[in-house]
């Protein structure tokens, strides 16, 4: 969002890179995202009352909707959609490590020949 290059051309105070028009069009987008988040919440709760027997499926549905909501918040409210390369690099590295942590721990705690008492 904050393209410093064009902000400089505007000169004056607005270094962040938004003229009013820009921001107004974003506001519309924020409101849409807000609506989507509310709908998403309703869906999550609704889905949890569905009599689905499979635990895996329930978990998958819940996490799927949560991920979409998370993506909306991060993408639009936190402006990740149009962030700088440096931030992406940091977050990609973090994503790599957090997956490593989750996946490898869970994998290595699966009993091999050991028996859980």
């Amino acid at each position: 969002m904050s393209h410093s290059s064009h902000s400089h051309s505007h000169g004056g105070h607005d270094h962040g890179g938004h003229d009013d028009h820009d921001v107004q069009s974003h506001v519309r987008r924020y409101l849409m995202v807000f609506g989507a988040l509310i709908v998403g919440t309703a869906l999550t709760v609704g889905a949890s009352y569905l009599p689905i027997e499979s635990v895996a499926l329930t978990v998958a549905i819940a996490l799927f909707i949560a991920s979409i909501k998370g993506f909306l918040v991060a993408g639009y409210f936190m402006h990740l959609i149009s962030e700088k390369k440096m931030i992406y690099a940091i977050l990609i590295a973090t994503a790599f490590f957090v997956t490593g942590l989750m996946y490898l721990t869970i994998w290595s705690m699966q009993p091999s020949s050991a028996i859980h008492l």
Partner: protein
């Protein structure tokens, strides 16, 4: 090389492989160490300020170092794929048949080892935590028929016959301990909540020290009374018979 490294007495079958790997890795280490040390001393001699008052901007041009690094990679790969992985796979996943081995259950506690034998049927009686009382510290289910012939738990003495696989089911009652018999080249953490199998084949009779290798409290250093007693089959059978006649576990108070 064993001598130089000071490897201790060995008395188990797979232990020879452990020693072999230790030795091979140390060859690799030795080669690297000696090689680089010679280079290092040479460099210091040749390029000190007095001997070489003007430094060379470029330095070494040869790519020998890349070859050395490549060789290290190769050597590590060989040790890994050729030794460590398959040997571990054999020890940690290929367990001997229960019927063909001496099955013992060892439950560690601060600061000793409790040893259980399953009796003639080779099966341990059930245990259930909800049954634990002061009279029944192990929560033995006295209604379980498999438990009827179990030997009464013993403290700190494991008897096994020589040259026959030993299968130890290892667990702990309180904190983490580690079951280590140096001469058998056996180390396995005893973890509460888990029952972990350990195997080895003793090759020499004798009395062996059992070590606790994991810090387990203020008695860790003195958790040293455990003994593994490797006997001939005949001696072992006699011992087992005597114990079995004495008192089965189900009546243990």
């Amino acid at each position: 090389m064993e001598k130089i490294l000071g490897l201790p007495v060995l008395a188990s079958k797979h232990g020879a492989d452990v020693d072999k790997l230790v030795i091979y890795v140390h060859y690799l280490m030795g080669a690297l160490f000696v090689g680089w040390l010679i280079y290092f001393l040479l460099a210091l001699l040749k390029f000190n300020q007095r001997a070489n008052p003007k430094a060379d901007y470029v330095g070494i041009k040869s790519h020998a170092s890349s070859w050395i690094e490549g060789a290290v990679v190769l050597a590590e790969a060989v040790l890994l794929v050729g030794f460590a992985v398959p040997l571990w796979g054999h020890a940690a996943d290929n367990f001997p048949k229960r019927s063909e081995s001496t099955v013992v259950k060892v439950i560690a506690q601060q600061f000793n080892w409790n040893v259980f034998y399953p009796g003639p049927d080779g099966e341990f009686g059930k245990r259930d935590f909800s049954l634990v009382t002061t009279d029944n510290p192990w929560g033995l289910d006295k209604t379980d028929p498999k438990g009827k012939d179990d030997l009464a738990p013993m403290l700190g003495e494991i008897h096994v016959p020589v040259d026959k696989p030993v299968l130890i089911e290892l667990s702990s009652k309180d904190v983490i301990h580690s079951f280590k018999i140096i001469a058998m080249r056996v180390t396995q953490d005893a973890i509460p909540g888990l029952m972990i199998p350990v195997q080895f084949v003793p090759t020499k009779t004798g009395i062996y020290q059992i070590n606790c290798a994991q810090l387990c409290g203020n008695g860790h250093a003195s958790m040293a009374s455990g003994r593994l007693i490797v006997q001939t089959q005949a001696e072992f059978d006699a011992w087992l018979k005597e114990k079995a006649n004495a008192k089965p576990a189900a009546s243990f108070e």
